[in-house]
C-alpha cells in the first residue's frame, strides 16, 4: 500500500513537470486520462490494471469519518422533513462551455440525478425549483414530493440569459418557505455559475433575514470562490463548495442528499398527523385529485377523505393530510441511527488474528480476504460483532444497506432492545 502511495505521488510530480500548456485541445483528453499509467507490471511481467480500490476506499473512509465525527459524541438530531428549494442560475455565465457540452446541460443532468437521490433518501421531504434569469428569479415548480414533475419543469427551460441576482432569488425563496409548517427544515441549495450578482438592494440585509428565518443556504459554485457566497453560507450554516470538474460537481450535489444536522434551537419535537394510504384496487376507475384525469387502477386512496392521488409522498389536495407510505418512514430511519464506521484492520495484525479466528473470508460476500501473493488483503471489522468485511462490502453496508449483517444475525431475537439503545 505504501508502495502504491509512493507511486501515486510520483505520478503527481510527473504531471506537474509536464508542460500541459503547449498541447492542443485534442491531445488534452489523453493527458488527462493518462490511460497508460493505469497499468502495472506484475511479478511475471504481465500488464495489469493498477488496483486503485485501496485508495478509493481510503477516500470513502475519510468521508465516512467526517460524517460520523459530528455524530459520535452526542446523538445528533436530524431534520428528516426537509423543504428544499433548488435555485439554478441560468444567467449568461451558465452558457459557458468549460463543462461539456455546457454548464447548463451539466447542471440539469446532475440536478435530475440529485432529485431522484434526494427523494430516495428523504421520502418525507419536498423540493421546489427556482431559476435566475435576466436578473429575476422565477419559480419553476412549487414545493412538491414528486420527482417527475420537477424534472419535467427543469428540462423544459434550458436557456441562459442576462445577469444573475442572488438577492432576488433569496427573497423569493424566503417568501415561499415562510409558509411551510414549523417542524420542517428550510433549506436552499444554490447552483451558482455567475461570478457576480446584480442586486436591487442591500444583499447583507437579505442574508440577515434568511438567518432570522432559519433558512439554511448552501451554494455550489461552478467557477470560482465568491466572497458573498461564502459569507452567506457561513451566516446561515450551510455548505459552500466549488466544483472542479463534472465528477466533483456530482459528488458535491449528492453530499446534500442526506439530511443535515438540525439547527439546535430549532429542533423541537413535534407530533405530525400522517396518513398511510392504501393502493387502489387494480381495475377500479377513479378521477385522481392531482391531475384531474380519469385513471384505471394505479394510485392511492387518502385514508381520511378517500380522494385518489397518483404518487406518494404528497399532501392530499382535498383534506391536506400528509400522505406517506410506511417504507418511506422506514427508509428515513437509518439517518437517525447510522451504523458506526468499521475499524480498519492493520496489515500485519490481520495476519495473526483474522486468519486464526475467522478464516479468510468476508462475512458479507464470503469472498476470500487473502490478496495477491498470499498476503492478507485490506479488510475492516465491525466494532460490535467483530466480523470481518471486505472493502466492497464495507461501502455497500454503509451507503446502501444501512444494516450490519453480522450484528443482525447475532442480535436478531433482541432487535427491539437494540433499537432502544
Amino acid at each position: 500500500m505504501s508502495n502504491q502511495r509512493k507511486r501515486l505521488t510520483g505520478e503527481r510530480e510527473d504531471e506537474d513537470d509536464e508542460d500541459a500548456e503547449g498541447i492542443g485541445e485534442w491531445e488534452r483528453a489523453y493527458v488527462d486520462d493518462r490511460s497508460w499509467e493505469e497499468l502495472q507490471e506484475d511479478e511475471s511481467g504481465l500488464l495489469r490494471p493498477i488496483d486503485n480500490s485501496a485508495i478509493y476506499h481510503a477516500q470513502y473512509r475519510r468521508r465516512l469519518r467526517m460524517l460520523s465525527a459530528a455524530a459520535a459524541g452526542t446523538r445528533i438530531q436530524k431534520g428528516l422533513i426537509r423543504y428544499l428549494y433548488i435555485v439554478i442560475d441560468f444567467s449568461r455565465a451558465a452558457a459557458e462551455m468549460d463543462f461539456r457540452p455546457s454548464r447548463i446541460a451539466v447542471m440539469a443532468k446532475h440536478i435530475e440525478a440529485f432529485i431522484r437521490e434526494f427523494f430516495d433518501q428523504n421520502p418525507l421531504s419536498q423540493i421546489g425549483l427556482v431559476s435566475i434569469k435576466n436578473g429575476v428569479a422565477h419559480t419553476l415548480t412549487d414545493l412538491g414530493g414528486s420527482p417527475e414533475t420537477h424534472i419535467k419543469a427543469l428540462m423544459g427551460k434550458l436557456e441562459a440569459l442576462g445577469d444573475s441576482s442572488l438577492q432576488n432569488a433569496l427573497e423569493l425563496v424566503n417568501e415561499h418557505l415562510s409558509q411551510v409548517p414549523s417542524y420542517g427544515h428550510r433549506e436552499v441549495l444554490i447552483l451558482y455559475s455567475a461570478l457576480c450578482t446584480c442586486d436591487p438592494g442591500d444583499i447583507m440585509e437579505t442574508i440577515q433575514k434568511c438567518k432570522k428565518s432559519k433558512l439554511r443556504c448552501s451554494v455550489i459554485g461552478l467557477s470560482a470562490e465568491m466572497f458573498i457566497c461564502k459569507h452567506l453560507c457561513q451566516e446561515t450554516g450551510g455548505l459552500y463548495s466549488v466544483a472542479v470538474d463534472e465528477v466533483h460537481l456530482k459528488d458535491l450535489l449528492l453530499e446534500h442528499a442526506p439530511p443535515p444536522p438540525a439547527i439546535a434551537e430549532f429542533a423541537i419535537a413535534n407530533l405530525i398527523k400522517m396518513g398511510f394510504p392504501q393502493r387502489a384496487a387494480e381495475g377500479s376507475m377513479a378521477i385522481c385529485s392531482c391531475h384531474k384525469e380519469v385513471k384505471i387502477g394505479a394510485g392511492y386512496m387518502c385514508p381520511r377523505c378517500k380522494a385518489r392521488v397518483c404518487d406518494l409522498p404528497t399532501e392530499c389536495t382535498i383534506c391536506g393530510l400528509t400522505l406517506v407510505s410506511s417504507p418511506h418512514l422506514a427508509r428515513s430511519y437509518h439517518h437517525l441511527f447510522p451504523i458506526a464506521p468499521f475499524d480498519e484492520v492493520p496489515a500485519f495484525s490481520s495476519l495473526n488474528d483474522s486468519r486464526r479466528t475467522l478464516g479468510k473470508s468476508c462475512f458479507g460476500c464470503q469472498q476470500s480476504l487473502i490478496g495477491t501473493g498470499n498476503k492478507p488483503g485490506p479488510c475492516v471489522t465491525c466494532r460490535k460483532c467483530k466480523h470481518y468485511f471486505c472493502l466492497d462490502c464495507d461501502i455497500y453496508i454503509h451507503e446502501s444497506l444501512h444494516n450490519c449483517p453480522g450484528c443482525e444475525s447475532i442480535h436478531r431475537p433482541k432487535s427491539v432492545s437494540l433499537m432502544e439503545e
Binding site: 500548456e21 457576480c196 442586486d199 447583507m204 459554485g221 470560482a224 465568491m226 466549488v242
Partner: protein, 758 residues
C-alpha cells in the same frame, strides 16, 4: 511557545511557528551577536513583524546586563499601530511567563497631529498648522507673558505636564498612539511631550523613518538614543528614495515670493523689537559672538528644528560674522532670494554642481560658502529671538535656508537642476530649481555609524546585493527567505502576447499601438469574466492610464468590463482615491465585483492592501520604469555609475522590478490567502528582467507560465481559481510542513536547521 535559539530563550506568543520565521530569527540573532547590520528579505504574510519583535525582546531578556533598545521604524502610522498591537500580544505573553521582570516600556511616537488631545489645537487641518497652534500655546515666552496677561490662551495639558516635571513618567507597558492619548487625557498631561520625554527611557520605540533619517528632525528626537540600540527599518524596499528625499529641496517661484513676504515680516519684527526690547537682540548677538551656543537657545525648553545637514558635517564653528547681526542676515537672505529669482528666469534647462553654483553665487551675490552653511541655524535662532510662533507661515523662507545650508555643506553627491517648465507640459511655464541628492548613503550613514545593529527588512529586497552598494554599508547577514506554503497559493504569469499572437508591451514605441491597447483591453475583459470579486490593475503612469482608458472607452472595451464588474480609478487627489477605494471594497463585499485601476509608484501601490477577495488578480500592465528623460534621474544615474559602478540599465531595471513586485505583492497578505499575478509585457519574459523579481515570486513562476498568450492565461486562471476554492488544509500534508510545533523545533535544534522540511 518557548524555545531556544542557541543560547537565547525565545518567547513566541503563538502555538505554532512557520519554518521561515524560525530561520529569520536565527539569522537575526547572529546579527545581534555580531553587533553588525543585516538585510533580510521575507515575503509579506509570513509574520515578519512578530518574529522580529519576539526575537529582539527575548534577546534583551537573555542579556540583562547589557540591555539593548529597539528602535522600530515604519512608513505609515497605520503600520505603527499594527506593530504596537503585535508587541502588546507578545508583551502579555512574556509577562505571563516571566512575571513582572519582563515588563518593558514601549511607545509609539508620531507628530502632534496624531498625538495631541487639545481639541482647539486639533481643529487645525494640516500637520504644520497643528504644530504652529501648539507652539502658540506652549512656547516659553508665551507662557511667560501669560503670567501677566491672563487673556493669553495656554494648553492645560502642557501646563500640567510641566508642573509634574520629573514625575511625569509613563508606567511600563506597551502604548499605542491611542493608549498614549487616553493616558494623557486621563492624567491631564500632554501625550506628545510626554512621549518625547519618554523616548530616552523606553525599551522599544516605534516611529516613522523621518525621525531617524531626516537630519532636521533626527537631531532633536533621536539624539539621546544609546549606541546599544537595534534599529529596524521595516518595509524598507524604498529606503534609498526616503534617504534621498530627506536631503532634497525644490524651490519654485511661489516659494520665493513667500520667502520675500516672510523677510518683510521678519524685518518688521526686528524693527519692533528694536523699539521695545533692544536688549534681546543684543543678547543674542553677544551669544553668537561668543560662539557659546550654535543655536540661540533662549529659554531652554523650546526645541526647534535643527540643522538640515548632518551633525558631523557642521564642525564646531562659530556663526560667521557677517550674519551675526539680524539686519545683516536679512540682507544676505534678500540677496540670495534675488539671485535665485534670476536663476529661475532661465529659458533653458540648466544643470550644475553645488561647487560651481556656490562660486557663481559668491561672485554675483557676494555670499560665500560658509555663510550659506549657517543660514538655517541662523534663521532658527532669529525666529526664536523674535518670538515667532506661527511657524507654518514661515515655511517658504525655511525651505530657502534649508536649500542654502545643503548647498553650502555638500560638494559631492548633489546637483542643482533648473527647469523652466515641466517636460511633459512644455507650454506651461513653471520654473523649478531643484537641489537633488543622489547619494542615499549620505542620510543613512550616521545611523549605521551610531547604532550597534541596523536591520533592513522588507517583502521585496531583490536583488539583495544592490542595497549594500546603494547605501554603502557592509551587512554581516544578507538573506532572502522563501515562503513555505501548504499549497501554491500564488500564481504568477508572464503574458507576452494577446490572443491574436501579437506581442504586448508598454515600450515607448509600442505603447500607443492600437493592437497593443486592444490586446490589453481584451485581456481584462476576459479576466473579469472569470475572476470573482476584486481585480486590481496597475499601469506605468497616470498619463498612460488616462490614455489607455480613454481608448478603451471609445472602442467599447470599458463597457464590456462594466458588464461584469464596476470600475474604479485612482486619481492624484487623495480624497477622491480614498472614496474610490471605499466603494471598491463595498462592491467586492456585496458580490458585484470591481476593478481598480491604479498606478505603480502611486499611493495605492505603496500602502493599500488588496488581500483576500479584495484582490484575486492583479494585472501589471508594462514594466514601471521611471521617466527616463527626467533630469534628476539622469543626474542620479550618472552619479551612481561614477561613484558606485552601478550600470544605468541595471539600476533602472532594479527600480522598475521592485515597483512591479511591490504592486503584485499587494494581493497576498497571509498564507490562507490566494491570488494571481499577471505581468503583461513581453519584456518580463527576458531573463535579465525576470531574475530581479523576489525569490518568493520566482519560485512559483513555472517555466510553462513564462510566455503566455491571453487565451492560455485564461485557461490557467480558471484552473487555478477552481483549485484554490477547495477547502484549505492549514497544517500541511505530504511532507511539506509549514507549521512547526514546540516538539518540531526541539527536534530541529538537535539535527540542525538544514534538515528543515520544506
Amino acid at each position: 511557545m518557548i524555545f531556544k535559539i542557541e543560547d537565547v530563550t525565545v518567547y513566541f506568543p503563538y502555538d505554532n511557528i512557520y519554518p521561515e520565521q524560525y530561520e529569520y530569527m536565527v539569522e537575526l540573532k547572529r546579527t545581534l551577536d555580531a553587533k553588525g547590520h543585516c538585510l533580510l528579505e521575507m515575503p509579506t504574510g509570513t509574520g515578519k513583524t512578530i518574529a522580529l519583535l519576539s526575537l529582539i525582546t527575548s534577546y534583551r531578556l537573555s542579556r540583562p546586563d547589557s540591555p539593548i533598545k529597539l528602535v522600530y521604524c515604519t512608513r505609515t502610522v497605520h503600520e505603527m499601530e499594527k506593530t504596537l498591537a503585535e508587541l502588546k500580544v507578545l508583551h502579555d505573553y512574556q509577562v505571563l511567563h516571566l512575571g513582572t521582570q519582563a515588563k518593558i516600556l514601549a511607545i509609539g511616537l508620531s507628530s502632534r497631529k496624531n498625538l495631541c488631545v487639545n481639541t482647539k489645537v486639533l481643529a487645525a487641518e494640516n500637520r504644520d498648522s497643528v504644530d504652529a497652534a501648539c507652539r502658540k500655546r506652549t512656547a516659553s515666552w508665551v507662557r511667560a507673558l501669560s503670567t501677566e496677561n491672563p487673556n493669553i490662551e495656554l494648553c492645560d495639558y502642557f501646563e500640567n505636564y510641566e508642573k509634574a516635571a520629573e514625575n511625569a513618567l509613563l508606567p511600563p507597558g506597551v502604548y499605542t498612539l491611542e493608549d498614549l492619548r487616553a493616558f494623557g487625557k486621563n492624567r491631564g498631561w500632554c501625550p506628545y511631550f510626554l512621549a518625547r520625554h519618554m523616548v530616552q527611557f523606553a525599551n522599544v520605540i516605534v516611529y516613522s523613518y523621518q525621525y531617524l533619517l531626516d537630519p532636521k528632525v533626527a537631531g532633536i528626537i533621536s539624539k539621546e538614543l544609546q549606541k546599544e540600540s537595534v534599529v529596524v527599518f521595516d518595509e524598507a524596499h524604498n529606503i534609498d528614495n526616503v534617504c534621498i528625499e530627506a536631503l532634497s529641496v525644490s524651490v519654485r517661484r511661489v516659494t520665493l515670493e513667500g520667502a520675500n513676504r516672510n523677510l518683510n515680516k521678519i524685518r518688521e519684527e526686528i524693527d519692533r523689537s528694536k523699539a521695545t526690547d533692544a536688549g534681546r537682540l543684543r543678547a543674542e548677538y553677544n551669544r553668537l559672538v561668543e560662539g557659546l551656543a550654535l543655536r540661540g537657545d533662549l529659554s531652554g525648553g523650546d526645541q526647534w528644528l535643527a540643522n538640515p545637514a548632518l551633525p558631523h558635517d557642521i564642525l564646531k564653528e562659530a556663526v560667521p560674522g557677517n550674519i551675526r547681526r539680524a539686519e545683516h542676515f536679512v540682507h544676505v537672505l534678500r540677496r540670495l532670494l534675488q539671485y535665485l529669482g534670476v536663476r529661475l528666469d532661465t529659458e533653458n534647462v540648466e544643470k550644475e554642481s553645488p561647487v560651481s553654483f556656490v562660486s557663481s553665487l559668491n561672485s554675483q551675490a557676494g555670499i560665500e560658502q560658509k555663510t550659506l552653511k549657517f543660514c538655517y541655524d541662523r534663521l532658527q535662532s532669529l525666529m526664536l529671538t523674535l518670538e515667532i510662533t506661527d511657524t507654518d507661515e514661515f515655511l517658504p523662507i525655511q525651505t530657502v535656508c534649508d536649500f542654502a545650508t545643503l548647498v553650502g555643506t555638500y560638494a559631492r553627491g548633489f546637483s542643482i537642476i533648473i527647469e523652466p517648465y515641466d517636460e511633459r507640459m512644455p507650454h506651461i511655464p513653471d520654473p523649478i530649481l531643484q537641489l537633488s541628492c543622489h547619494d542615499a548613503s549620505l542620510a543613512i550613514k550616521p545611523v549605521f555609524d551610531r547604532f550597534q545593529s541596523v536591520v533592513i527588512t522588507s517583502g521585496t529586497l531583490s536583488p539583495i546585493d544592490l542595497y549594500p552598494r546603494l547605501l554603502s554599508f557592509t551587512p554581516v547577514v544578507s538573506r532572502s527567505f522563501k515562503m513555505s506554503m501548504t499549497r501554491d497559493c500564488i500564481c504568477p504569469m508572464v503574458l507576452t502576447r494577446g490572443s491574436d499572437q501579437l506581442p504586448v508591451s508598454t515600450k515607448f514605441d509600442m505603447r500607443s499601438d492600437p493592437g497593443v491597447v486592444r490586446n490589453y483591453g481584451k485581456l481584462l475583459v476576459e479576466m473579469v469574466s472569470i475572476v470573482p470579486d476584486g481585480v486590481v490593475c496597475f499601469f506605468v503612469s497616470y498619463s498612460y492610464m488616462d490614455g489607455i482608458i480613454a481608448t478603451w472607452n471609445e472602442t467599447g472595451i470599458l463597457k464590456e468590463i462594466m458588464q461584469q464588474k464596476l470600475v474604479f480609478i485612482e486619481t492624484q487627489d487623495v480624497v477622491e482615491t480614498t472614496l474610490a477605494l471605499d466603494n471598491y471594497r463595498r462592491a467586492c463585499d456585496c458580490g458585484r465585483g470591481a476593478v481598480f485601476f491604479s498606478v505603480a509608484r502611486g499611493k495605492v501601490a505603496e500602502g493599500i492592501d488588496f488581500d483576500r477577495h479584495y484582490g484575486r488578480l492583479v494585472v501589471m500592465y508594462g514594466v514601471p520604469f521611471q521617466y527616463t528623460l527626467s533630469k534628476i534621474l539622469l543626474a542620479r544615474l550618472e552619479y551612481l555609475r561614477d561613484t558606485f559602478q552601478i550600470k544605468e540599465g541595471d539600476f533602472l531595471t532594479f527600480d522598475a522590478l521592485r515597483q512591479a513586485a511591490q504592486c503584485v505583492g499587494r494581493v497576498i497578505r497571509s498564507k490562507a490567502d490566494y491570488g494571481m499575478m499577471i505581468f503583461a509585457d513581453k519584456r518580463y519574459s527576458r531573463h535579465d528582467k525576470r531574475s530581479k523579481l523576489p525569490g518568493w515570486i520566482l519560485s512559483h513562476l513555472r517555466d510553462a507560465h513564462l510566455n503566455l498568450s491571453t487565451d492560455m492565461a485564461i485557461h490557467i486562471a480558471r484552473e487555478f481559481l477552481r483549485k484554490m476554492a477547495q477547502p484549505y488544509d492549514k497544517t500541511g500534508t505530504m511532507g511539506r510542513k509549514t507549521l512547526l510545533t514546540q516538539e518540531d523545533l526541539e527536534k530541529m535544534a538537535e539535527t540542525g536547521v538544514q534538515d528543515m522540511a520544506y
